[in-house]
């Protein structure tokens, strides 16, 4: 996978993950073109597009478009499953996730993504392992924060 983008229905970027080195300018260009292409697709159309030399797989969940750029050997149908899994992970973490959750807690969305994909490849295929890892990391973080913010007696 080359990149994953989350776009709102109004064309606002909610999450961007780039797995190949891309300049800022190029990133903006790609985001713009993806926004134009994907948001213009009629409902119930095919989820696969061709763009430059990449295969684009996109799926709409409520008000968010999840969009991935794939290489030639990547399996498009499997990528649909990857997107589905990511949404399920978000849903489990946030409880009935909606776009606002992702807006206000974007860093958590990134952390979850980093427990699921690394370098464009799937890291963990188990449904539960990602959630467990997030919980334990949170505990570690809270312990630190509590420790830091507790007044010293």
């Amino acid at each position: 996978m080359h990149f994953m983008l989350l776009l709102s229905r109004q064309g606002k970027l909610r999450l961007q993950k780039w797995f190949t080195p891309v300049t800022e300018r190029e990133k903006k260009k790609v985001i713009r073109e993806m926004t134009l292409m994907v948001l213009a697709r009629p409902p119930r159309s095919c989820n696969f597009l061709l763009w430059r030399d990449l295969k684009i797989v996109y799926k709409r969940y409520a008000s968010l478009y999840f969009c991935c750029g794939l290489e030639d050997q990547d399996n498009e149908l499997l990528t649909l499953e990857v997107l589905q899994r990511y949404v399920e992970l978000l849903d489990k973490y946030f409880g009935n996730v909606c776009e606002l959750d992702i807006i206000f807690n974007f860093e958590k969305a990134y952390f979850i993504l980093d427990e699921f994909l690394v370098g464009g490849e799937i890291l963990e295929t188990s449904k539960t392992a990602v959630g467990i890892a997030m919980e334990e990391a949170e505990t570690l973080q809270e312990t630190m924060e509590e420790y830091m913010s507790k007044p010293t007696y």
Binding site: K12, L13, R14, L15, Q16, W18, F19, P21, V22, T23, K28, P42, R44, S45, C46, N47, F48, L49, L50, Q73, N75, E76, L77, L78, L80, E81, V82, Q84, R85, I103, F104, F106, E107, Y110, F111, D114, V118, G119, E121, I122, L123, E124, T125, S126, K127, T128, A129, A133, E136, A137, L140, Q141, M144, E145, M148, S149
Partner: protein
């Protein structure tokens, strides 16, 4: 109050901004505050400030001043600060920034941290944005982590290694031993990472590939376990146990089995099992089946398995889900050359997909339909393609028209059909055709001598209806000019006769001349056509004279020049007019790739008469020709008998050295240099010729042509070929299997030979046919191939 609320506060404020300007103001203030905070000493809020900055960055605002802060935060001992720091590094730093090198040391330290979550942060960041330098520095650490740590770290280390191998392929050797042992892990995450790593290593290094072939049985076992195992709630997706891992293993098996018989054999059973047992009602199952089909087609699987795979694709084609239909067509496209007949069976469904609403599906269906065109199905398939053309989305039109033209050229059952098809395309989508279409069509029309009357009537009617499509108008004008007498005569066997008066014809041409829709080239065609008619009509010659003289003062220089010269033809050289404007002879098509005069520009300068007759007529410069010729003929006093020769010199720029060569042309009118073809078989009136179309270092394309000089048709003609072991042979579909009698027609078949080892090429061809109700079969050995045309 927890400091992270401040982040959410800021987000709320930004979202509350009503205009773009207001938003910018808020963001500027916040950024200023953040910058100030960065400059201060550590006060416990650094991570939140960076998080705010990252949000601002996502909205599209510049955030480069946060890069150093990322570096600082990564080096912090606190977990939450590290976490945000690494996130910032992945978002703001990429390998092109200098600051990225500064985090290398921190990453190194964190890789040996006591907490696995800190280790994982470092691994994740390195795996996402590590530059080649960083990778080289840290590779030994990653290797260590691959071996001696828990599953949580091992799986991350594996993917980090994948990234390292992609950036610095030489380091692959470092990871090979560790990755081999990872295959015995039980943890799916680690196993998946191991398979991805091994795939990457094998793709880049053929020696490693050899090594890992020995692991095929182990992989087969793992896969079997997944397919046959009971329900595992953790990994189950719609009834498939860990489809992600299954797909990756299949992909690895594909790479290992490619071009290798032993590996392919070992995998045959497994693939059959997966293909039959996987439930494809949901996407997960379809994904696994798709990967299985790709693997079957790519390795050396037995034919039964291949048939199974194609059937699966056929089933996919009928699926309601558009995605699955799309995938199926993509896969069929890959195999349409090698398993042509198998794909042909599904032609009906593919053609139906042309009518799908979805643009992606349409595109795939178009590509596949064009690949499936053959002599047998050309008529029905062309009907569908033309129907598609009338309603196809604009971005596909150019591709469709060129595809239709190619198909028509290769498999046209009759000339009339061919002309009709091209005319249909021009009327439907004339604006999207390539430039060579006009000369190609003209050349085709001249060869179809019996159809001149039919063609000109049809074109005239098209012209009268609509003059906006330039390509159509140009061809129509040319035809009317050339065959105007047939048009005016009125009767025609092939189409219902319409009385066309001379005035009507001239009206039509004048409309073209005067219309603002006509391009300058089109008007040139129209003017020349009008001029030619002066010898073909009887009553309205004066009208033509007046048209021609009007354009003598036209602003367009090209038209003006022509008009002036035509005028001269009327006035001073009226005695020559008839000869000059005589009917042109049949133009011969040169070998594939003939174009307008430009590409053979050199030959024009050479003034070779043979090359001239070879070039396609572009009736753009007849006026020039006339002028020069008149000068020369006026000078030498020679009568203009060789008008056919003169007309065929109507190509490209002519220099004034035409004089001497014209006289040569009188004798030199000759055939085009046909690429040499060798007769390889001649018996019972059946002649088989071989012609080399293309030859490269590692292969060649040849065409076998069969003709029949007996007085009964030869039927059921089949050609089979065998070549030396290392040469790959691919026979394209033949143009038919019936050779008409008396040499009236021929059957051609193209054969592609791929000779990667550059052995001496020999071929044995078996010819089977039925002649006079007797089945004949012969074998010929071909030891040497003629040199190609180019």
């Amino acid at each position: 109050m927890s400091p992270s609320v401040r982040l959410q506060e800021m987000i709320r404020v930004i979202r509350g901004a009503r205009t773009q300007g207001e938003e910018r103001g808020v963001i500027q203030r916040e950024c200023a505050a953040i910058r100030a905070q960065f400059r201060q000493a550590d006060n416990g809020t650094r991570s939140h400030n960076l998080a705010k900055l990252l949000y601002v960055h996502m909205l599209g605002y510049p955030a480069h001043f946060g890069q150093m802060e990322c570096v600082r935060l990564i080096a912090s001992p606190r977990y939450n600060e590290k976490r945000v720091g690494y996130l910032g590094a992945m978002m703001l730093l990429d390998e092109k920034q200098d600051a990225s090198l500064l985090i290398t040391n921190s990453i190194k330290n964190d890789l040996s941290h006591s907490s696995q979550y800190v280790q994982s942060l470092a691994l994740c960041t390195l795996g996402c944005m590590g530059s080649a330098e960083m990778c080289r520095d840290l590779a030994p650490e990653i290797d260590r982590l691959l071996r001696a740590s828990n599953s949580y770290i091992k799986k991350k280390a594996a993917l980090c290694a994948v990234h390292i191998v992609r950036k610095v392929p030489e380091l692959g050797e470092l990871f090979t031993p560790a990755s081999r042992s990872l295959l015995s892990e039980k943890n799916h995450g680690v196993l998946h990472g191991a398979v991805v790593l091994i795939t990457e290593l094998c793709e880049r290094n053929p020696d490693t590939l050899e090594q890992f072939r020995k692991a095929v049985p182990e992989l087969v076992q793992i896969m079997k376990g997944l397919v046959m195992s009971g329900y595992s709630p953790e990994h189950n997706v719609a009834g498939i146990s860990d489809p992600f891992l299954q797909v990756r293993i299949l992909r690895l098996l594909r790479i290992l089995g490619r071009n290798n018989d032993t590996a392919s054999d070992a995998v045959n059973d497994l693939l059959a099992q997966v293909a039959t047992n996987t439930d494809s009602s949901k996407t997960a199952g379809s994904a696994v089946l798709y990967e299985t089909v790709l693997t079957v087609m790519d390795i050396k699987s037995e034919s039964g398995l291949r048939v199974l795979a194609v059937n699966i694709l056929g089933r996919f084609l009928l699926n309601n889900d558009r995605n699955i239909r799309y995938i199926s067509m993509t896969s069929l496209q890959k195999i349409v050359q090698t398993d042509h007949n198998a794909v042909q069976r599904h032609r009906g469904t593919i053609v139906d997909c042309l009518k799908d609403q979805d643009a992606s599906v349409k595109r795939r269906a178009l590509e596949l339909s064009l690949a499936l065109v053959s002599a047998v199905n050309i008529r029905s398939l062309m009907k569908e393609l033309l129907l598609f053309l009338s309603s196809c989305p604009p971005e596909l039109r150019a591709h469709t028209t060129s595809g239709i033209f190619n198909a028509a050229e290769r498999y046209a059952p009759s000339q009339r059909w061919h002309i009709d098809t091209i005319l249909h395309v021009l009327t439907t989508a004339g604006g999207d055709v390539r430039d060579e279409t006009v000369p190609n069509l003209i050349q085709l029309i001249t060869t179809a001598t019996e159809l001149h009357c039919y063609t000109v009537h049809k074109l005239y009617r098209a012209l009268v209806t609509d003059i906006s499509v330039q390509s159509l108008v140009q061809v129509a004008c040319w035809c009317i000019g050339e065959y105007g007498d047939l048009l005016l005569r009125g009767e025609c066997e092939e189409t219902e006769s319409v009385q066309v008066a001379e005035d009507d014809v001239l009206d039509a041409l004048e409309t073209v001349l005067q219309s603002h829709m006509s391009s300058p080239a089109t008007r040139g065609f129209a003017l020349t056509a009008t001029m030619k008619l002066s010898t073909r009509i009887t009553h309205n010659v004066d009208r033509i004279r007046s048209i021609v003289s009007i354009y003598g003062s036209c602003i367009d220089v090209e038209l003006q020049q022509r008009a002036v010269e035509y005028n001269a033809l009327f006035k001073k050289y009226d005695h020559m007019r008839a000869a000059v404007l005589e009917r042109m002879p049949v133009i011969d098509k040169s070998s594939p790739g003939h174009t307008n005069g430009e590409s053979t520009g050199g030959s024009i300068k050479d003034m070779e008469p043979t090359k001239r007759t070879q070039e396609v007529v572009l009736p753009q410069e007849p006026a020039n020709q006339v002028c020069d010729l008149l000068d020369l003929l006026g000078g030498s006093g020679e009568p203009p008998q060789p008008s056919p020769a003169l007309s065929t010199t109507a190509l490209g720029p002519v220099s004034s050295t035409a004089g001497g060569d014209l006289l040569d042309l009188l004798g030199g009118l000759d055939v085009t240099p046909v690429p040499p073809s060798v007769i390889v078989y001649e018996k019972n009136g059946v002649t088989l010729k071989l012609q080399t179309d293309k030859q490269t270092d590692t292969g060649m394309t040849i065409t076998l042509t069969a003709t029949n000089s007996t007085d009964r048709d030869i039927t059921s003609l089949t050609l089979q070929a065998a070549v030396p072991k290392s040469v790959q042979l691919q026979m394209k579909a033949p143009s038919g299997d019936v050779i008409p009698a008396h040499g009236l027609g021929q059957v051609t078949q193209t054969v592609l030979l791929n000779n990667p080892n550059k052995v001496s090429l020999k071929m044995r061809v078996r010819v089977c046919y039925t002649s006079q109700d007797v089945v004949c079969q012969d074998t010929v050995q071909i030891d040497s191939f003629p040199s190609p045309a180019w």
